[in-house]
């Protein structure tokens, strides 16, 4: 996982399913081919050295270091940092403490965004992928167009949509007005519209990303299964439920896991579009943690918050994994 990035899809790609498949494969073949296990130890560590050096300094060390910071009163402006036990964590769970309200509001905002966005980010791309899977003319061109916004990056997307969604002079409200619909929707200024905007913009931005992965999953489904279903007299909708969805499960597990994590780490969209407003209601956990830790210099509470967020994400990932695997088995 790239420590530096929050909106980082590529590093989030693997699902927890993969290591398992990998380990079984790894254990077998080379052992059969090699003799003594210790034969390559020196060479192996030479090969691994560059990676392990980076991994140790920027992944292993900060994980431990961050945990340490979270149990101190760490301040960049003090000479000594004192161990204060779990006080930072206790504060975060004590109503009325200085961080309690804001932190849990930001966790709530992250939760709202995740709940609202993940279904859209799975269903719409799946729908597009199914359409594209019809072996149509121009399919590659469509695929490329749908994917294009992703390469622009979140800030470009943000400033473009801030303009389009402007309450008073944005194009979207103008078009709605021409259609006889309300033309004064406060897209980025008031809730619930701000949430709608954040979801729309995120879908617009990453639609193609999920769609191409799901499309590859669809293409990997054995066509014989569809034929067998047809022979059984299944219609399109039955085939979708009984062939397409089961066949997509491994890819869906992967896409849903990455999408949930991605949504839970949302930062850029609300940083640019709503600035966390109105009244901090769209300030996500990542936004609050980074602001507390690196702008307000409350590093210790911020480190504790990041571990609490981590715990939540871990639980959700496990639940998601369990749910989807149960269906598979």
């Amino acid at each position: 996982m790239q420590p530096s990035t929050v909106t980082n899809l590529a590093t989030r790609l693997p699902s927890s399913r993969r290591p398992r498949a990998a380990r079984t494969g790894a254990a077998r073949r080379p052992r059969a081919a090699r003799t003594g296990a210790a034969r390559h130890t020196g060479t192996a560590y030479l090969f691994l050295a560059p990676f392990l050096a980076l991994f140790t300094v920027f992944v292993v060390a900060p994980s431990i270091f961050g945990l340490w910071i979270s149990v101190t009163d760490w301040s960049p402006f003090k000479d000594t940092q004192n161990f204060i036990g779990l006080q930072n964590y206790i504060d975060l769970f004590t109503p009325g403490s200085i961080t309690f309200g804001d932190f849990w509001q930001s966790m709530g905002a992250t939760g709202i965004f995740t709940v609202l966005s993940v279904p859209c980010l799975l269903i719409i791309p799946l729908f597009i992928a199914i359409l594209l899977n019809n072996n149509i003319r121009g399919g590659t061109a469509f695929r490329a167009i749908f994917f294009a916004p992703y390469v622009l990056g979140v800030a470009v997307i943000g400033v473009i949509w801030k303009y389009l969604l402007d309450t008073q002079s944005g194009m979207l409200n103008h078009i709605l007005g021409m259609l006889g619909l309300p033309s004064d929707i406060p897209w980025t200024v008031d809730v619930p519209w701000a949430w709608v905007s954040l979801v729309i913009v995120t879908v617009w931005w990453t639609l193609g990303f999920n769609a191409v992965i799901l499309l590859a999953g669809l293409k990997a489904i054995n066509p014989d299964l569809y034929e067998a279903a047809s022979l059984d007299g299944a219609g399109m909708i039955r085939k979708f439920w009984s062939v397409t969805l089961p066949g997509l499960r491994p890819v869906m597990l992967f896409v849903s896991t990455t999408t949930i994590l991605e949504s839970a780490n949302m930062f850029g969209q609300s940083y640019i579009l709503t600035k966390g407003g109105p009244a901090n209601s769209t300030r996500t956990a990542i936004m609050y943690i980074s602001d507390q830790g690196l702008s307000q210099n409350n590093m210790a509470p911020a480190a504790a918050m990041s571990y609490i967020l981590f715990a939540f994400l871990a639980v959700i990932s496990v639940i998601n994994f369990r749910l989807q695997r149960e269906k598979t088995e």
Partner: protein
């Protein structure tokens, strides 16, 4: 779920067979459907074209706005044709203090450098994990895998302090090296390397080839598709990076495009045409590159899941 009438598809095995068939950049061709009702096809195209327009039209509108004057944007905000058509916004940007072209260059440099670091370190390490037996392998591999799902926010504050102590704040190292330490690259390549046939390697070993030669002359050339995929994913990830550079880059001329554009928005918040000109400058080179390499890029992303 209602999967009683249909033969079950055990997911893991399906995905693995897909992995072997889609080992390169190609994916299995779909069955051609013989019966295509005209109306259905028309409806399908209508939806696809609608979505395509929903993506293209906003970009066209941005382009139009960028060629308007400030006065035109204010007095005629919804005019489809700039009146007068003007490059005022672009010249304001070019003469202003926001070095947007430098940001573009910085973004390219950083994404390229990080990609290079990942390719070198991950391929070397993945070779050891995939093709060599050694003591401690399980532990090393287990620790690497264990970090795969750790959210980046965990590293934000400690890595800031580490980067600061290394004296890397406001340098390209800050936005490339820590991000290259992630487990994804080595994990991804290891999966691919494991799938390579052992026979070629054994033949080379009998010929007296050492590990370095096997790595550079056999494994790497055979792994071009996987390396290209990893390169593209890494490049995109770095290109999209937003939160981290906001904090570790200090000077305007060191910024990358994402935080830079966000800053531009703040500076010219009352001048839509200038911000949109910035968005155009930030988008055009990327879209051209994407246009050239779109097939490879899209298929890299597509294969990232199926291959696992």
């Amino acid at each position: 779920m209602s999967s009683t009438t249909v033969p079950k598809t055990p997911a893991p095995s399906r995905s693995r067979s897909a992995a072997s068939s889609a080992a390169g950049s190609s994916v299995q061709a779909p069955r051609r459907r013989p019966k295509g009702v005209a109306a259905r096809t028309a409806g399908l195209y209508a939806v696809l074209i609608f979505v395509a327009l929903a993506i293209i039209l906003p970009l066209v509108w941005i382009l139009i706005t960028s060629f308007k004057t400030d006065g035109d944007v204010i007095s005629n905000p919804y005019g489809i044709v700039p009146d007068p058509a003007s490059t005022e916004a672009y010249s304001t940007l070019a003469e202003g203090q926001q070095p947007i072209f430098l940001w573009l260059l910085n973004s390219f440099l950083a994404a390229t450098l990080q990609t290079a670091i990942i390719l070198v370190t991950a391929s070397l390490g993945a070779y050891a994990l995939a093709r060599l037996e050694f003591r401690g392998k399980k532990i090393v591999f287990g620790v690497i895998i264990g970090t795969l799902l750790v959210p980046p926010v965990i590293f934000l504050i400690p890595n800031y302090l580490i980067v600061q102590n290394l004296g890397w704040l406001d340098t390209i190292w800050a936005i490339t090296v820590p991000g290259a330490a992630g487990a994804f690259g080595i994990f991804f390549l290891r999966q691919f390397f494991i799938g390579l046939p052992a026979e070629i390697e054994e033949a080379a070993r009998i010929d007296g080839a050492g590990d370095l030669r096997i790595f550079t002359q056999i494994v790497l050339p055979l792994s071009r598709p996987a390396l290209a995929t990893l390169a593209i994913l890494s490049f995109l990830a770095n290109w999209n990076d937003f939160l981290w550079p906001i904090y570790v880059l200090l000077s305007p001329e060191r910024l990358t495009l994402q935080p830079g554009l966000s800053q531009l928005q703040g500076t010219y918040s009352t001048h839509f045409s200038i911000v949109m000109a910035g968005a155009v400058i930030a988008s055009v080179p990327v879209l051209i590159l994407f246009g050239i390499a779109q097939k490879q890029i899209v298929e890299s992303v597509a294969s990232s899941a199926v291959k696992g």
